[in-house]
Symmetry: C2
Subunit: 152 residues, 2 copies
Amino acid sequence: MARDEFELESFLPYRLNRAAEFVALRFAAQYRARYQLTRPEWRTLAALGSSGRSMTATEIGAHSTMHKTKVSRAVFSLEQRRWLKREEDGRDRRFEHLALTPAGEQAYKELTELASRYQAELLSMLGTEDMKALSTGLRGVERVMTKAAVRG
Amino acid sequence: MARDEFELESFLPYRLNRAAEFVALRFAAQYRARYQLTRPEWRTLAALGSSGRSMTATEIGAHSTMHKTKVSRAVFSLEQRRWLKREEDGRDRRFEHLALTPAGEQAYKELTELASRYQAELLSMLGTEDMKALSTGLRGVERVMTKAAVRG
DNA sequence: GTATATTGGTTGCAATCGTAACTATTGATT
DNA sequence: AATCAATAGTTACGATTGCAACCAATATAC
C-alpha cells in the first residue's frame, strides 16, 4: 500500500470539476441572460427536447442526474411558462408524462442553436486533438458510470 | 451558419458535468463520512496542503475556483477545528496568511491517502488508455481556462 | 496631505438546494 | 379484500449558496 506524493493538480475529481464548472458557467451565462433560464430548467428542457418524446420526471432525473426535487421544481416553472404540459397516465395515475408544447419546442430549437455554436467555439479553442481525447476519456467515465447507481 | 442536429449526449458541458459529478460525489461520500468535511473545506485543506506553504484566502479561491464567500466560510470552520491558523501580514494588514497546523497537516496526509487510493481505483476502472485520453483532454481545457477569468 | 479608488476579507439576506417526511396510487402478501 | 410495501411526485424545513453591501487597509490622484 505504498503511495507516492499526492498532487492535487493531477487529482481527477479536482481537474474534472474545474473543467466542468468553467465550461458550464460560460454557457449558463448565455441562456440565463437571454432566456432567464436556470440550470435545472435548461437541463430539463434539453432532456425532453433531445429525447423527442414525452418523459416522466423520474426519467428526466435519471437521464440528467438531477435530484427529483430539482426536477420537480424545474418542471413546475417550465409549466408556468407554457413550455411543457403534463398528461397523466391512464393506466397508472402516479406517472405524469411531460412533453414540450410548441412554444417549448421553439425555445428548445433556439437554445440548441446556441448550444451548437458554443460547442463549435469550444472545439475551436481546444483543437481537434484535445477534443477527441477528452471525448474518449469521457466515454470511459460514462462507461464506468453505468455500472454504478448515481444521483445528483 | 449551418448547423446539424443537436445531440445532448455529445454536448460537452453536459458530459463534463455528469462525469465530474459522478467522480466527485463518490469521493465526497468518503471524506464526509470519515471526517465530517464539506466540499469547500476539503478543497481548502487540499489547496493549502498541496501548496506546502501559507496562502491567502484569495489565492485559495483562485486556485480552486471557489467563490470568496465559500472560502471565507471554509477557512472559518477549519480554523474552529484547529486545522489551520491565520497570521496577519506585517506590511499589509489586509492579508491573512493561512497555514495548516500540525493537526491540519496530519488530516491532510490522511485525506491524501484516501485520495490516492481513490485515484488508483478510478484508474483501474477507466483503464490506462482512457485515463490518458481524459488527462490530455483536461489539459487542453486547463490551457483554455488560463486565457479567461473564472470564478466559482 | 486629503480625497478617491482598489483590494482582502466578512456578513446580511434572499434564493437555491437536498433530506426527510408526506400524499397518492399501484403492487405484493396473506 | 385488507394490509403492507413500493413507487411517482410534491413540499416543509434546515442548510448551503452567492450577490451585494459592507468594513478595513493600502494605493493612487490631485
